[in-house]
Amino acid sequence: MPTRTVTVGSSSGLHARPAKIFVEAAAKAPVKVTIRSGDRKPVPAKSMLSVLALGAKQGTEVILEAEGEGADEALDSLAELLAKDLDADA
């Protein structure tokens, strides 16, 4: 299954504004994308509550997974988003 491992780049972590931007982007992806951190079970990337509950901070490593048509492209763009500091362009 296509997988990307990314280090969260936003200075406030995957919270608040960065989480909102990520979740909204994941909801627009043509495939179902999951996100997990460490050994915990993967959760849907388009669920704001689940993404927040990861508690990912700046520097936390998260793993994105998706399957099907367009999975690689979707993962690439979401991974790029996660790696950026989304607080910086506020």
Binding site: S11, S12, H15, P44, S47, L49, S50, A53, K57, G59
Partner: protein
């Protein structure tokens, strides 16, 4: 005869109008058996959708972009597939819609609370969303601030930031809460918005909605059941006072020309325009924590230089008192790797962090010095949480080592207040943080609403400690400022000046009324009021004597 309720006035001014309460969170009803699971899920889904729609409408109405964004993020939390799945599962197990919604939120609530930090603070958002959805299901108004379309005095048990994020100042003309204290969110918000406010006012929630009230944020009194004529007259005179205060500009001074610097508290360059609008003479407290919060690593030297330079540039030619990092066990920062302490307010915080991590202070002072050299601001540096002469000496040496001209310390610990004269031998100025000085003098947690009366800035023991510092400043010919919430109280300002305080730093919105209050007194009157207040047996009497 109108009934009079008494609380603690936290923002001076009068407001007259009908009293309306914030709608309370609904209690969960007794569980009922579910016969048609599909229909029950439909009800739950519709309730969540209504919550999302309502948050969207509030976001559209909000004039502040940050507030709108917070509301949209909350809407996204309620519009969540995983949440709906959780609700559906619970309904399939036989729970009714309100209990299923409660249960589904509870799963996330646990995860948020367990994660701690930022997420633990979001637990209140989850509870708010749940309460909203349950209220819709029960046919009750959604909890929160009413929006009747006319001016009113808002009453609540206490106000949380979520309640007030989109408070409409055209409708809400005053605040009164049953609990809370002079440093609670309600008090801080009231001063930021310049709204007359009374906290710790028992009995206010028993007043029926719509009753005409007259609120006096100076005396802390709420007259309940006043006549239309009385309310109209009070509203008119309040408008006249506000108009008079807004016409005064220029440096702060008493009626006989004794200068008192009126400065603004800021957290970043974003707050500088508000300070300018209020004709602040400079910055009396530049908090540097913002840059450090939620950071896994310490911000770099260059990052710090840029952040400080932004504020210094905007304040070129004026005074900027910058406070070194005020964090520690009570406000933990990940990069400091502090383990939990049993009593964080009394733990390693403020300047004490430098005992373990002197490098953090050295880097920050180097950044401040570099930012200063690139700009024309009159930069003063002070350390938080100083208790002894030894600590003050060490800090002053570090400041001078960095090439900075003015070193000061905050007075938050009674030990430091008592030895103010000693401290002024080694530093150039003092700045009194009244919120912490209250907390440590009265051994009363700032966050503890039940002890609000002890945290009243009019407590004579607190005023006496401020007086010790003021007298030391006069003797040494060195400035003594106040940068706590007490500085924003127009009634208290003349008393502080009489105690020897030479500058007052506050939320920009509070500057106008404080300027007007000082202009109404001579310096000799200020000294007399100060003597009367310190000699008072209690806070209420001290306040009464200063009127």
């Amino acid at each position: 005869m109108p009934e009079v309720l008494t609380g603690i006035g936290v923002c001076a001014g009068t407001a007259a109008g009908p009293l309306l309460r914030i709608a309370a969170a609904p209690a969960l009803p007794a569980p009922v058996p579910v016969t048609d699971a599909a229909a029950e899920y439909g009800r739950a889904e519709a309730a969540l959708a209504e919550v999302v729609a309502e948050l969207g409408r509030r976001a559209d109405r909000a004039t502040d972009a940050t507030v709108a964004e917070v509301l949209r993020a909350e809407a996204l939390m309620a519009d969540d597939e995983e949440l709906r799945d959780g609700v559906r599962e619970l309904i399939d197990e036989g729970h009714d819609a309100p209990h299923a919604i409660d249960g589904a939120f509870a799963t996330f609530r646990e995860a948020f609370a367990a994660a701690g930090g930022y997420l633990a603070e979001r637990v209140a958002d989850l509870d708010d969303l749940r309460d909203r959805a349950v209220a819709v299901l029960l046919g009750l108004p959604m909890p929160g601030v009413p929006s009747p379309g006319h001016p009113y005095v808002l009453a609540a048990r206490d106000l949380a930031p979520a309640d007030t994020a989109d408070l409409d100042p055209d409708q809400v003309i005053g605040l009164v809460t049953e609990v809370g204290g002079p440093t609670s969110h309600t008090a801080i918000l009231a001063r930021a918005l310049g709204l007359p406010a009374v906290v710790a006012c028992p009995g206010v929630l028993a007043v029926p909605d719509g009753t005409l009230v007259l609120l006096d944020g100076a005396s802390g009194q709420l007259r309940v059941g006043v006549s239309e004529a009385e309310a109209t007259a009070a509203a008119q005179s309040a408008a006249e006072v506000a108009a008079a205060a807004s016409t005064l500009t220029g440096p702060g001074e008493t009626s006989d020309g004794y200068a008192v610097k009126l400065l603004a508290n800021v957290g970043s360059a974003k707050n500088v325009p508000a300070a300018d609008e209020a004709h602040a003479e400079g910055i009396g407290l530049f908090r540097t924590e913002l840059l450090f919060l939620d950071r896994a690593q310490e911000p770099t030297l260059d990052e710090q230089i840029a952040a400080y330079r932004d504020v210094f540039t905007a304040m070129a030619g004026r005074r900027v008192v910058i406070r070194t990092l005020d964090a520690g066990a009570d406000k933990p920062l990940p990069f400091l790797n502090q383990d939990g302490e049993p009593n964080p307010a009394l733990g390693v915080r403020g300047l004490r962090v430098a005992r373990q991590r002197p490098d953090v202070l050295t880097t920050q002072l180097a950044a401040i010095a570099e930012a200063r050299s690139q700009t024309g601001a009159d930069v003063w540096v002070m350390a938080p949480m100083v208790s002894t002469l030894d600590e003050a000496t060490g800090f002053a040496a570090a400041v001078r080592e960095a090439g900075l001209p003015k070193a000061g310390v905050m007075i938050e610990v009674p030990a430091a207040a008592l030895r103010a004269a000693d401290l002024l031998r080694v530093v150039d100025f003092l700045s009194i943080g009244t919120n912490d000085l209250s907390q440590y003098t009265f051994a009363a947690d700032r966050m503890c609403g039940d002890l609000a009366d002890l945290l009243d800035p009019w407590q004579p023991a607190l005023l006496q400690l401020i007086g010790v510092c003021g007298a030391a400043g006069r003797a040494a010919g060195k400035p003594v400022g106040v940068c706590g919430e007490a500085a924003a109280d127009p009634l208290l300002a003349p008393v502080l000046v009489g105690l020897g305080v030479t500058s007052l730093s506050m939320s920009p919105r509070a500057i106008g009324p404080v300027r007007a209050a000082l202009a109404a007194r001579t310096e000799a009157e200020c000294r007399r009021l100060a003597e009367l207040a310190v000699a008072a047996p209690d806070a209420a009497e001290a306040r009464k004597r200063a009127m």
